[in-house]
């Protein structure tokens, strides 16, 4: 097949997967842009920050950092703490990203929660190229986010209709991705551990600090269960 056709096929397969994120990111991006707008920043800030950082939760945190005292070291450390979950995405994607050429650099740069989840679980059709498919998923998601952030920054104060609850689109998406993976997998140990450990850590450490303890506990328990889980994996 001609290379151009494969690229077009990949875009056609990628776009439908990103529609829920179009809704979620445009809305969350708008919220973020509005937040920057009412905090006194020009729309250039959300525009450039959504292009260069492209990690939702720390972009919201960065607003507070910019309004507080100048402290670059804690800005760096706080970002690493909040984004530490990306380390797990990278470990999971080592093999999937290994043969996609230069696109790999962008794929890693733009690996947000949503792009990771889709690229990890997607069944990529035969007539597509894996690298291009993942590239289009990632870049479409970033376009939605940057668009929303810039619009929010420009017109933030003018929006009046009730969008309350629209951000639930991302919760729904993570539930569907979890469920899809749960149905497909043969051993549910890791899925169940992920939920149970996170809930326990959330109750103990609270919403702002539970991710790191959750990650450490997940890593520890999965390491302890390596022998039985690998055995279970071989049988199937």
């Amino acid at each position: 097949m001609e290379k151009k056709q494969v690229i077009i096929n990949s875009l056609k397969a990628a776009f439908p997967k990103t529609i829920p994120i179009m809704a979620g990111f445009t809305f969350l991006g708008l919220t973020y842009g509005i937040y920057m707008n009412v905090s006194g920043f020009s729309f250039l800030y959300p525009l450039l920050m959504s292009m260069t950082i492209f990690a939702g939760s720390v972009e919201f945190l960065a607003v507070g950092m910019l309004l507080g005292p100048f402290d670059p070291l804690s800005a760096l450390l706080m970002t690493i703490m909040v984004n530490a979950r990306h380390l797990f995405y990278g470990i999971s994607m080592l093999e999937k990203f290994s043969d996609v050429g230069l696109k790999k650099i962008y794929l890693i740069f733009a690996m947000c929660d949503e792009s990771f989840s889709i690229n990890y679980t997607a069944q990529i059709p035969e007539d597509c190229d894996k690298g291009w498919f993942m590239f289009f998923v990632s870049i479409l998601n970033q376009i939605y986010w940057v668009f929303g952030a810039a619009m929010g920054g420009l017109f933030g104060s003018l929006i009046t209709f009730s969008t309350e609850g629209l951000d639930f689109v991302l919760v729904s998406m993570f539930v569907v991705i979890f469920l899809d993976n749960f149905i497909k997998e043969k051993n549910h140990a890791s899925s169940i551990l992920g939920i149970v450990i996170s809930v326990v850590c959330l109750l103990i450490f609270g919403p702002d600090r539970f991710i790191i303890p959750s990650m450490i506990s997940i890593l520890a328990v999965l390491s302890l269960l390596r022998a039985p889980l690998e055995k279970a994996g071989e049988k199937t």
């Binding site: 950082i53 100048f70 080592l94 609850g165 629209l166 539930v175 979890f178 993976n181 899925s191």
Partner: protein
């Protein structure tokens, strides 16, 4: 605003750098072409399922079970998402259905409490 423009740029650059570190580190430690250790290969296979569970909890982290609506609208909407997904097996239908259900619940049903 107390920060100067260059201080703002440095602060944003630190956030960019921190994010880059968390995303690129695994690929720098285990470059393609080199053999990935068996233990890391194992983690690459089993971590994602746990991460999807963690992301569900993460996306719900600010829901308070002990006050307000006690997480009831979230719980109902998630049940709707699961039932729709088991029934139709269509990602977009499940996500849109759950979101509309949630918006209706918090805008019209639970707002009186």
């Amino acid at each position: 605003m107390t920060m100067t423009l260059s201080q703002q740029i440095i602060t944003i650059a630190m956030v960019v750098l921190g994010t880059l570190i968390t995303r690129f580190l695994p690929f720098i430690v285990f470059p393609s072409g080199n053999k990935i250790p068996k233990y890391v290969q194992y983690l690459g296979k089993v971590l994602a399922a746990a991460v999807f569970g963690m992301l569900v909890v993460y996306s719900l982290r600010n829901v308070s079970i002990f006050e307000g609506n006690h997480g009831l609208p979230e719980l109902i909407a998630i049940v709707v998402v699961i039932l729709l997904h088991l029934w139709k097996k269509n990602m977009l239908v499940s996500i849109a259905g759950g979101t509309v259900c949630y918006m209706l619940l918090i805008q019209f049903v639970f707002n009186k409490f």
